[in-house]
Symmetry: C2
Subunit: 110 residues, 2 copies
DNA sequence: ACGAACGGTAAGCATAGACTTACGGATGTC
DNA sequence: GACATCCGTAAGTCTATGCTTACCGTTCGT
């Protein structure tokens, strides 16, 4: 459940994992359904799901013999939080640079 | 300059690259400055910057012999756009599931 | 109770890619 | 003009990890 410092963003570096993430965003799916839509084997999907689950980006719930996975709202919120943080930092930096140096004297921090 | 379909998110999978990204969010920096703050060599930083630049997440401008890198607002906007898309998809899916199945009959798509 | 469907895990491999050292080109300084 | 600084690129190594096959446990149907 612990969300990462980077909002779990590191987990989405892999294309297959991103694809799984995007599919789950549109509709909760079982492992088999995901494997059908992807060019990898079912165990591969299972392994990715494990990583995503450990990272808090998805949750699963048993339904008969099937395990239905769906996005974890808190996980996505973590991603947004991280990105918003970076975004705010960038805005602040830009603003500071714009008002403190209208004619580019020095950009150093003593 | 082309932004990716995933908003360039795949580029931030690597921890070092994320670190560079976060540093640049707080303050534009030269290659050497980044290398000083990171546990990798200068060429490594240079290579990461190339990837980030090709992905449209950062921009550079020459300043004497130094190359100052800073975040590209459009790139960050691309990230936000991708994440918002996933977020909206997830919301829609959740809403649809909630109103179409108050008592869980079938979750299948014929 | 038996068989089938579904999925998690182990072991192993193979490729991507992150890092280093070495080099060369451009710019600024004396 | 010579030297120093800063940076990008090439070549090569090595590790992380994504994928596959094989196996086993669990749950449902008949």
């Amino acid at each position: 459940m612990e969300t990462y410092g980077d909002g779990g963003l590191g987990l989405l570096g892999d294309p297959t994992r991103r694809a799984i993430f995007e599919i789950l965003a549109r509709r909760p799916s079982s492992v088999g359904e995901l494997a059908e839509r992807l060019p990898v084997s079912r165990p591969a999907v299972s392994q990715h799901l494990r990583v995503l689950k450990d990272g808090g980006l998805v949750v699963s719930h048993a339904e008969g013999t099937r395990r239905v996975y769906r996005l974890n709202p808190e996980g996505v919120a973590g991603l947004r939080a991280w990105l918003d943080g970076v975004w705010n930092d960038a805005l602040t930096a830009f603003q500071k640079a714009a008002e403190a140096a209208p004619d580019d004297p020095e950009e150093e921090v003593p």
